[in-house]
Amino acid sequence: MNRIIRIIFLDILKNKIVLAYTIILGILSWSSFGLEDNSAKGLLTILNIILFTVPLVSILFATIYLYNSSEFIELLLSQPIKRKKIWLSLFLGLSLSMVLAFFIGAGIPLLVYAPDSVGIMMLVVGCLISLVFVALAFLSSILTRDKSKGIGIAIMSWLYFALLFDGIVLFLLFQFSDYPIEKAMVAVTALSPIDLARIQILLQLDASAMMGYTGAIFKDFFGTSLGLLISFLLLCLWVVVPFFISLIKFKNKDL
């Protein structure tokens, strides 16, 4: 297994895109932290990076990489290697490089400027979000053989999770504002990894006061260590479930 992961990892590193991604993350983070003595603005910049840039780059890069390595996958399949091993190696190679890029680009400035619970929380959540969207990329690339369709699915799922989902939640909140739906809203956030990440970080930032009564409910739930644990587990599920579905599909795929 290690041999294949190493081959894939080196191949990704040779691809200059991940390097460029790391450098851009680095420039954004270092400059936003360097602007003011207070680290709050830098944290907000990184929060936006985690919520928008990291998912987009992870899902797009991984999807395109998977389609471009179809020849490589075909070549490996005629060799004595388990299918599961091929798919898992691809996943580990891709996630390792995306997590590493995030860690070097945004993680190091975080640890330098905000070495408290907020900074560490952001670091962990950012890495998890990278993993979630790499896993979603595996799912979207196995759903169809057509490259442009697959990339389309990847972009659509990013749009859905990053923008549309919030709109739907807001719509529901206004439509049902006469009913006691605050508790249900907590459950609804579990349906989007980006929302889970956002709420976890916002609560650490003490910005929940601005979210009104719902914010208080969120604080009640996610503020406790049990709530925190559950939301981390949910994020992990967002990695495991899409990848597992794609693995089952890959095992039965004809090449």
């Binding site: 041999r3 294949i4 081959i7 191949d11 040779k14 390595s69 179809s70 020849e71 490589f72 075909e74 070549l75 490996l76 399949l77 005629s78 060799q79 004595p80 290697i81 388990k82 299918r83 039965n252 795929k253 004809d254 090449l255």
Partner: protein
Amino acid sequence: MIEIKKLNKKFGKLEVLSDVNLTFKKGECIALIGPNGCGKTTLIKSILGMVIPTKGDVLFNQKSILKEYLYREQIGYMPQIGRYPDYMTVGQIIEMIKKIRNSNQTLDEDLLKAFDLEKIFDKQMRTLSGGTTQKVSATLAFLFNPEVLILDEPTAGLDPLASEILKDKIIKEKEKGKLILITSHLLSELDDMITQIIFMQDGKVHFHKTIADLLESTNEQKISKAIAKILKSQSNE
């Protein structure tokens, strides 16, 4: 050595293989022929586990290959159209496969030398012509001294010199007692290599005969003429 039992494969509604039963033994050199789209490549890919059968089973040394992978150590496969990562060089591809196989057997580098591949070791795969890519595929198939060789249209795209080298190599391996499975449309090329012939049509095995039987039953000297005679007599019926 390889036993195919009631193999069925459907792609959606299209039935590509229906109820294929075949047995291949050591030391045989089998030609798999038939019109385009009759399921030859699908059959080969099911033996390799690249296509998963809808129904039926393939046994390799009496063991089912479904969900297995180690048996592939004993198979050398040369695809019809070799697809390789574009930006890897010839040398890198061969090194990578060596690393993946990680075999400590002595490598069979006859073809590597005969095709003079060392000269193009630093060329990227995407810059190679179709024929040169075929040479790389052939070299990889023979490299690990496999017990079974599966060659999908091996000489298509090769120049006469290279295809002669490959044919000599196939005959040499056959004499070592290996099982060789070839698909081809060039019947004239097969004459001095094969011992058995399988004719497929519409996903079914039409006949599976030894060459001696085939020539005797049709009173012909050449395989191509014998096949033509059988096909003609069928279309007259």
